[in-house]
Structure formats: C-alpha cells, structure tokens
C-alpha cells in the first residue's frame, strides 16, 4: 500500500505504509469462498475466481482431450471444458446425482467448469484461519491445495484454480 502525497512545490513523493500502521478496515481480513464437496472432502475456491454455478446435465465428450476432461458444456453461449475433480484428485468416480454441480471459474483469459459432487455454500473464512498445507498432503507436487482451514469440526481445503486447470502436471516441482 502506498500513497501519493503531493507536496506544495508540485513534486511528487511516494510514501509507504509502515508496519505499525493498521491495514485498512476489512480488506484482506477475510476471504469469501465458494465451498463444494468432492468425495468425502470439502474444498473451497475464492469467490472472486468463481463466475457461476450450474446444475450438471451431462457434457459432450471430446475425444482426445485429457482423461480428467469429461467433455464440453454450453454456458450462456460459451463452450466450456468440464474438468471432473474426482478424476483430477484420484477419487473413485461415483454415480451421477441431481446434486452434481459445475463450478465455473476464471483465471486470466481461461474459463473452465469444475464438476463437483455438490455445492451449496458461500463461506467467509478469516484469513488467520488459513494455514499452509502439510508437505505430505501435497506429496504429488501438484500444488492443488493452496491452504487449509479448520473451522470447528470442518476441514476446508482452499484450491489453487490455476494449478488445477494446468494442461500438464509441471515436472520436477
């Protein structure tokens, strides 16, 4: 955070906020998240990443696409790939149900729909509750989980959307 202070002489100087100054009220103290379930676990994405949620009525298979892509769907005139998070996370694929949802997320220019078991909730997570994931959890090296939050009895894993929609797993990371 920096502020421009215009001095009387017309010159401009940049003043940085010192560490003792409090952060502006609210900004950054909490994180608004969309929470959904895949298998037995709960995951979250920052609400600012999520464009919308839709019910899932099947996708058109795209032959030759990566195995975790179940196909494409049309959402408001746009054709979006649907990435099955069960397949991506190595969870055995369950029976399709009416609870299934697609969570449409955007990072940069890319818009991808994630297929999840169910999604209902928007949750405010205090940033102080977000802890780095244990190294063992991230053993695959893919960095899908950005942070963990233990909210009472619930454990919510905050996902890194950009990593999840990467075309290939990065090597040697």
């Amino acid at each position: 955070m920096s502020a421009l202070v215009r001095a009387a002489g017309g010159s401009t100087e940049v003043r940085h906020r010192g560490p003792e100054e409090p952060a502006p009220a609210d900004a950054g103290a909490t994180l608004l998240c969309v929470v959904f379930r895949v298998g037995a676990s709960e995951y979250a994405l920052p609400a600012e990443t999520v464009l919308q949620m839709e019910s899932f009525e099947g996708a058109t298979p795209v032959p030759g696409a990566p195995p975790f892509i179940v196909g494409v769907v049309q959402v408001r005139g746009r054709i979006l790939p649907v990435l099955d998070l069960r397949l991506r996370f190595g969870v055995p694929v369950g029976e399709p149900s009416l609870e299934n949802r697609i969570v449409v997320g955007q990072v940069g220019e890319r818009v991808v729909a994630l297929l999840v078991d169910s999604a209902r909730e928007v949750l405010v997570i205090p940033r102080a509750e977000l802890k780095p994931p244990p190294a063992m959890l991230d053993g695959s090296g893919r960095g899908f989980v950005q942070a963990l939050a233990q909210l009472g009895p619930r454990l919510v894993m905050l996902l890194d959307f950009a990593r999840i929609i990467e075309e290939e797993d990065p090597h040697g990371v």
Partner: protein
Amino acid sequence: MHATFTPSPKQAERGLNITAVRERVAALAEIVQVLPLAVPPSPDAPGGLSFALLLVTAAPDLDIAAAIGIDASDVRQLDSAPVEPVPSDAAPAVVVDEPELLDEVAPQRLRFVRVDVARLDDAMEHLSTLIVTRSRLARAVAGLRAAGVQTRELAEVLRDNGRQLRDLRASILRVRMVPVAEVLDRLPLVLRGLRRESGKQVRLLVEAGNAEVDKGVAERLFPALVHLVRNAVDHAIEAPELRARLGKPEEGTLRITVGSHSNARLELTVSDDGGGVDRAAVARRAGGELPSTDDTLLDALCRAGLSTRDEATMTSGRGMGMDIVKRIVVDQLGGELSMKTEAGSGTVFTLRVPLTLTIVDAFTLDCRGQRFVVPVSSVEEILEVDPAAVRFGPSSRAERLGLIERRGEAVPLVDLGGALRMKAEAQATRQALLVRYRGEPLAFGLERVIGQQEAVVRPLADPLVQVAGIAGATDLGDGRPTLVLDLYSLGAALQERAA
C-alpha cells in the same frame, strides 16, 4: 495536379495496384492526398472503385501518367501557373484549392459508413441465436409430426423462414467483407523496415484483384503474412552481392497473389525468388531424416522454434515462426498451408483459408453413437460403403487402413471414430466422407450422414479441449454442444501419428 487510378485486372497484370502506384508516384511527386472514389462498375473499373491522386510535382505529365499506367491526357493540371521546381530536401508548399474536385468527392464519400467491427459482431451474434432458435423450432415441428399432427403449413413457414435467414446471413456476411488489397496495403510498411534492417534489396509485388474476405479472417491472417514476408527477406532472399554472383537481379522479388480457390475459400500465395529452403539444414536442425518431399519439409519447418540460421537476427529472431503461421492458418482459420520450394530459384507458400468464419453449412452425422457436424465445404463427396467390399492391407498398427473402390480408383478409408480416438465401440461403416488431403483423396468411414443444416461454430477456446480434428462446437437446437470436425487437420494428425 490531379490524376485518377482505377484498379482493374488489366492494371493488375502489369503489377499495378494502388500500393504500387503510390510507391511509383512517390518517387516523382509529393502526394498530397489519395482519395478513394466509388464509381459505377464498368469493364474498366470492375471493382467500382477508383483513386483520385492529388500531387505536387515538377515532373512532366508523361512521367506521372506512365507511373500510374494511364494516358498523359488524363493527367490534369490544377494550377494554371507553372509549378516551381521544389528542392527535394525542402518541404514543398502545398496549396490545394480545387472546389470542383472536392464537390465531386464529397457526395461519394457520404455513401460509406464506418462501422465498429464490434457492432457487426453483435449483429452476427444475434443472427446466430436466431439460427439456433430455428433449429429448435424445426425440432419441435418434427416432434409434432411424429405425434401425428398436421404440420404442412408449419413446414412451409419453416421453409420460408429458413430462406430468409440464409438471405439475412448472406447480407451480414457481405457487410463484414473487406477488400484483401486493404489488408495487404500494410505490408509495404513492414517491408520497408525489413529492408533497412537486413540491407537487402527487395521489391514487393501485390496482385490482390477484387478479392474480399471477412474482416475477422483478415485480422487473423495478417500476422501470418508478416511472418512469411519476414522469412522471405531474412532467410530466402540473398544479399545483393551474392545475387549478382548467382546471375540474379540484385533486387529480390517478393510476390503476393490473391485469388478465389472456390467460392468459399481464398487462396493467397507468397513467393520469393530467393535460394529455396535448405533441406539439409532443416534436417540437421530438426534432428531427423532429410525431408524428401515439400510436404514433409514444411512439416519439419512448422515444428516449434525451428530456424535454419545459426544466429538470431534482429528481424526474425532465432525461429522462423512457421509454427505460428501454421497455427494461424490451419488451427485458427481451419485453412490449409502448403509449400513448393526449389533450391536456387525460390519458394512459394500457398495459404487457403475460408472466406468467412462462424456460420457454416454443415453435414450432421453419427459416429459411434455421438453426433458430430462437418462443414460441407470440406467434403468432396459422400460415399456409400459396403462393409464387405472394404479391403485391408497388411498393417502392424491397431488402426488399420482400409481401401475402397471409387470410380475405378482405390481410396484409403480411415475409421472416423478410430481417427478421433473415441472410446466407444466401433460400429459398422456404412458411409464415408471423401476429403482431399494434400491433393490425395482420403475417406473417413462412419455409421451414417444424417442431414445438412446451418451451424454456428463457436471455437473451443480452452487449451484443455483443443484437439486435432475438432474445430469447435455448435448448438443444433438442443442446448448442448455438438462438436464440429475439421477433417483436414484430422488427416494431418493421422499422418503425424503414422510417421
């Protein structure tokens, strides 16, 4: 003075278009203004377009007329006083006062409207939704008919509606068309910079004729042309001293021609009179065998990051960017790219691209239980296949190539589902789509072709679903995406897999 240049095939034959005229006249005169004028189309002005040139010069009429390719009597002096010779390094005092001429220009100009492309896209988008709605309507009527309802009048309305939509589509597409010459007009500027950087002498001949292309296609195509021009100057055309030693004119020639390949495709050629592509150098770089044909040589050139030069240069860096050219022409525009090269005498690149994007006439078909569409323009013929008459040659691969007879000629038959690597089980091949891949016939076998309809093609923008052979998706009225196949790129992918 005032002179008029009217583009025509006759002028184009002599290498004269407005760009060439500008360059030639600029050498003799100070160009005050070049005004495009709409004129009634005639044999002399088939494009209905003419350019008025206002010039300040001391050069004789005869020279100016020769530069423009017109009779000296058609050059008019606007000033009764003799023109003072202007020292070449001093800025000429430009005073143009010719009310008569301006009167002539103004009303013509009023006939044109400048439109933001976004507005045209908008109109196109609305038309697209209309076409999708029509598909839904047709589906609903078919449902009624199946339920035993009398639908004759409805069907008639549908037919009229379909025709009107086609007319509307044609009108909007026409509005979006821009002269190819206008796109190519930006190339001389690019070339000027390249000439300066490379120290080579190159002249550009452009024969664009009256061809027109969709604005969206033109915008995408331009970077590919810049790459090809760059490559020609940087890699193909030799330095003046070397050219002189080889007995070539010191000035290299780069020629771009434009023509209609068929009524749905535009063909552009970019040719140079340089040294041709060095096969051995490409093989060395690509780390493979010596490419034996121009096609395999082009494939090697289009591999990402390849350059036949050891050092990076200012203009083309290390790579030739042929991978980018291919991506634009083949992947983005659904076109074809080919090349002919001859050591010592030059290279010709041929680009064939669709004139328009987004809405195409398409065949709908079933393959392994999934519905697909294929643009009609890419299919040469639909063949009936008798499964018992398909012959298989020896093959070590899982995807066996069959052979079928077509008018006394054996044509390779590829199973479409197999080529697409579909997981569903193969079904009996009853029909095949015949396409031409690099001039050779190739048939894709499938269960059945269902019908023909208009399809709004939306690109599959995300890299996760960019797959060879799939050009995009369309909505046939059921609200679900149906994949649009690009059999040409599927053929290319098969070739790659076989290699």
